[in-house]
Amino acid sequence: METPALHTMAHFMRTRIMDISHRCALSAHLGGGLSMVEILATLYGSVLRVRPQEPRWDDRDRFILSKGHGVLGYFAALLAAGFISEEVFATFQSNESDLIAHPVLNLDLGIESSNGSLGHGLSMGIGICLGAKKKGKDFRTFVMMGDGECNEGSVWEAVMSAAQLQLDNLTAIVDYNRLQSDGDSRKIIEFGDLAAKFRCFGWNVSEVDGHDLGQLLNAFAQTFALQAPHVIVAHTVKGKGISFMENNNEWHHKRLTKADYDLAIAELGAVHA
């Protein structure tokens, strides 16, 4: 998929995120879902070698949503890519649904892993990458984390381990939106230069504007080159695309009322026109 088509996909995802957030009539993690939209559109629209009609295809690239609360972006990407039907998508956060506020392992829906508790995905990614190498498979593994998630010590256990094991089939993405549950990440755990931290742990690093599809495509094209894992530090805006949600942490986890929904959809329509 080229950049204009990815742009359309990202717009579609944002619209559908608004639809189900309003429809479920419950609080949902809007801010962190919206900040990942371009990253996920790039992955599911262009980068990942997956077969939505054959979700258990053994050679598929693996994607793990380690920041499990980012399901709104994730489910919208799975919908756009054809893993999840409109009917299933519409059940988000309703009784008996497979789609709740965090991913639950369901390969038939393209969901590789159960997450929600932070700091688990990168370690699982390491195991998958080791397994791929041992089996002689050339599929790749992508793990999506949040910058807040990088507060977890287990993330850094995995960062050291992936470099030691020279896992060049592993790409991590950090959705660096600088806001976490209680507020400004810089006032909670200041990472300073996060890219430099990964670099000194032995990773290859790309640093991009996480909403710039061209930069994202370039960065993904540069991964898997050397005998080291790769991280894309993607600078993003929490709540991206909806003016009253952008950088407003009230929307970390909030219910979308009818008035909010109408405003958001009007904005998205205006932008797209």
Partner: protein, 324 residues
């Protein structure tokens, strides 16, 4: 294949639980497809040095990072590998408890977490290294099979069964070197199926780990006093063999559970949870380690001090029955 013979049983006893675990894993190295063994920098302490030398591609020391070890083990299991991941009991069951919960419990990935040095076998290393609460934590997580083998022969049996078993397990190794053998010849071992080792009518000992041997010793001493005690090896703590408990309830006047674990949340609790619903039930004495961080000492010394040596168990039971 390792055979249970009187000679091997004696040799394994001298080698101890961890050494025999390493031998057992070595013995399945060839016959187990997609085997991977992970350690958090305790490969040698886990008796895995020969396995590592023989199968370097099937062994990984992932570093002193138990959380990452369990997560990586889960990723390997997701790709079809049959993974054994080892560390000391508290480091797996508590340091990495949530990794166990998410990966082994929630996602049911095929990882066998092997806790070496559980109970108080680590002796002078102290409470930081003891497995006092591990069974309680692990058995409360859904989907995880919990096994605590009685002796070195049963460690061999457990490792062989675990290699054939698809699904997450927590294997809890108690005992040190010179573990007294319970088994000196081959027997039928099945995960989830308790073994009745001795018949008796006044009470039934239900024990696991090292306490199976001590319960057998206690039963012999009680016999001399005219008290008839049955002994059941409840090696699988979860799923609990409730038929074996039903049998004990039908055929004896009291239940005595014995475990090298805190009296909170382990085997005694598991049996009591099952029998609590009964309108009428025999008295149940729960023997185990106290709810305390005990003073570290020699292993055997501590078992005696805490009332978990055969003679001490017999004396406690005699008093318990007299009180009734």
């Amino acid at each position: 294949m390792l055979e249970i013979t009187p000679i091997n049983a004696r040799a394994w006893s001298r080698l101890g639980s961890r050494g025999v675990f390493g031998q057992a894993v070595l013995s399945i190295g060839e016959s187990t497809p997609n085997l991977m063994v992970l350690s958090a920098d305790l490969g040698n302490s886990s008796g895995l040095d020969r396995f590592k030398a023989t199968y370097p591609d099937k062994f990984l020391n992932i570093g002193i990072a138990e959380q990452n070890m369990i997560g990586a083990a889960a990723g390997l299991a997701k790709e079809g590998f049959n993974v054994f991941a080892t560390s000391f009991a508290p480091f797996i069951s508590m340091r990495a408890a949530e990794q166990v919960r998410m990966n082994l419990g929630y996602m049911e990935l095929n990882v066998k977490a092997v806790a070496i040095g559980s109970g108080i076998a680590m002796a002078f290393l102290g409470n930081s290294h003891y497995g006092l609460e591990d069974a309680a934590v692990m058995r409360s997580i859904p989907n995880i099979t919990v096994v605590c083998p009685a002796d070195c022969a049963e460690i061999v049996k457990t490792v062989q069964a675990a290699a054939q078993h698809t699904g997450p397990m927590y294997i809890r190794l108690t005992g040190a070197v010179n573990n007294p053998p319970v088994y000196t010849e081959d027997y039928a071992f099945q995960i989830g199926r308790a073994v009745r080792l001795r018949e008796g009518t006044d009470l039934t000992f239900i024990a696991n780990g090292t306490m199976v041997y001590e319960s057998l010793e206690a039963a012999k001493l009680l016999q001399a006093q005219g008290i008839s005690a049955a002994v059941v090896n409840m090696h699988t703590l979860k799923p609990l063999d409730t038929q074996a408990i039903d049998h004990a309830l039908r055929t004896s006047g009291a239940i005595v559970t014995v475990e090298e674990h805190s009296v909170i949340g382990g085997l005694g609790a598991a049996v009591a949870e099952y029998t609590a619903r009964l309108r009428q039930r025999p008295p149940h004495l729960i023997l185990g380690l106290p709810d305390a961080f005990i003073a570290a000492a020699d292993y055997r010394f501590m078992l005696e001090r805490e009332g978990l040596a055969g003679a001490k168990i017999a004396a406690t039971v005699t008093q318990f029955l007299a009180e009734g």
